[in-house]
């Protein structure tokens, strides 16, 4: 498994936790439910890549977010 495959699997696993009734608005790209998003991530198209970017951004920010939450507790 390549690094990209691992990341893709991680993003899909995260998206799996989203409830069925939620949808995501991504501007002019449209609105997507969980199944749509997972398909896009598997295809690694523009929407899928955007989801990967959002997830990686979140993971990179976790340390700062957690620290901020602790400081303001």
């Amino acid at each position: 498994m390549t690094k990209n495959d691992h990341i893709q699997a991680l993003v899909i696993a995260r998206l799996e936790t989203m409830p069925e009734n939620l949808a995501i608005s991504i501007g002019k790209d449209g609105n997507f439910n969980k199944k749509d998003l997972i398909k896009h991530v598997k295809k690694a198209d523009a929407i899928g890549k955007k989801m990967v970017k959002v997830e990686l951004n979140y993971l990179r920010s976790l340390k700062t977010i957690t620290q901020s939450a602790i400081n303001n507790a």
Binding site: G27, N31, I65
Partner: protein, 217 residues
């Protein structure tokens, strides 16, 4: 006493714009309560001709865009461009602008500042929000979307309360942080925490360009 004029665009041609417009209603109400002159372009009215005419006639001190956008443009009904960095950016001169749209703070925002816009608040990447499909008929009652839209609209609330653009930005950033913390640390359900990554995204890509001390007047 001089009353500032506020111009608000609320296109409503797809799910995203319907949500933005529904959540903008409380801002319109607040602007009226605060005795501002409020000009609202809604639905099909949100086109280039009407927008240009409204700006020229009323000279708003604050323009609040709700709609789609990209790096160089903010749009209205059916995605008709209202402001384009390469065509009519000077229409924003001397204004305070808040664009609740995707990406426009990447190029249009900085270019507008160079052309005399006081302050441009917007997003350098896509503004993403999560909503509950069971609430699509009543977007304003969708608490899931509220995590994003009430928070982003804090910019307009703070400006209407007389705060500076810099403080309005800080208030919205703090509202994002508060929601993120709440979702990460409370007894919130796992479904709620799946939203956090998108709140973090929006928070990190919200920017305040230009004069940080400008107020609506």
């Amino acid at each position: 006493m001089h009353k500032p004029t506020i111009l608000i665009t609320t296109p409503s041609h797809d799910d995203t714009t319907r949500y933005l417009s529904a959540w903008a209603k409380s801002i319109i109400k607040l602007a009226k309560v605060k005795k501002n002159n409020v000009v609202v372009l809604k639905n099909r009215q949100v086109n280039l001709k009407n927008f240009t005419s409204a700006v020229e006639k009323t000279q708003p001190s604050f323009i609040f865009f709700n709609g789609h956008g990209n790096k160089t443009t903010v749009t209205g009904h059916n995605n008709e461009p209202l402001v384009d960095a390469d065509i009519n950016v000077e229409i924003l001169k001397d204004k305070v602008v808040y664009a609740l749209s995707c990406q426009s703070a990447k190029m249009l925002g900085p270019k507008s500042i160079k052309h005399g816009t006081k302050t441009y608040i917007g997003y350098t990447e896509d503004f993403i929000f999560v909503y509950d499909t069971n609430k699509k008929k009543h977007p304003e009652k969708d608490k899931t979307a509220g995590y994003f839209l009430k928070t982003s609209n804090q910019i307009a609330v703070s400006l209407l309360e007389g705060k500076t653009t810099g403080q309005a930005y800080v208030d919205s950033q703090n509202a994002f942080r508060s929601n993120i913390k709440q979702l990460l640390t409370s007894d919130s359900q796992s479904q709620d925490s799946s939203m956090v990554r998108f709140l973090v995204w929006d928070q990190q890509h919200q920017v305040c360009l230009g004069n940080q001390d400008a107020v609506i007047q």
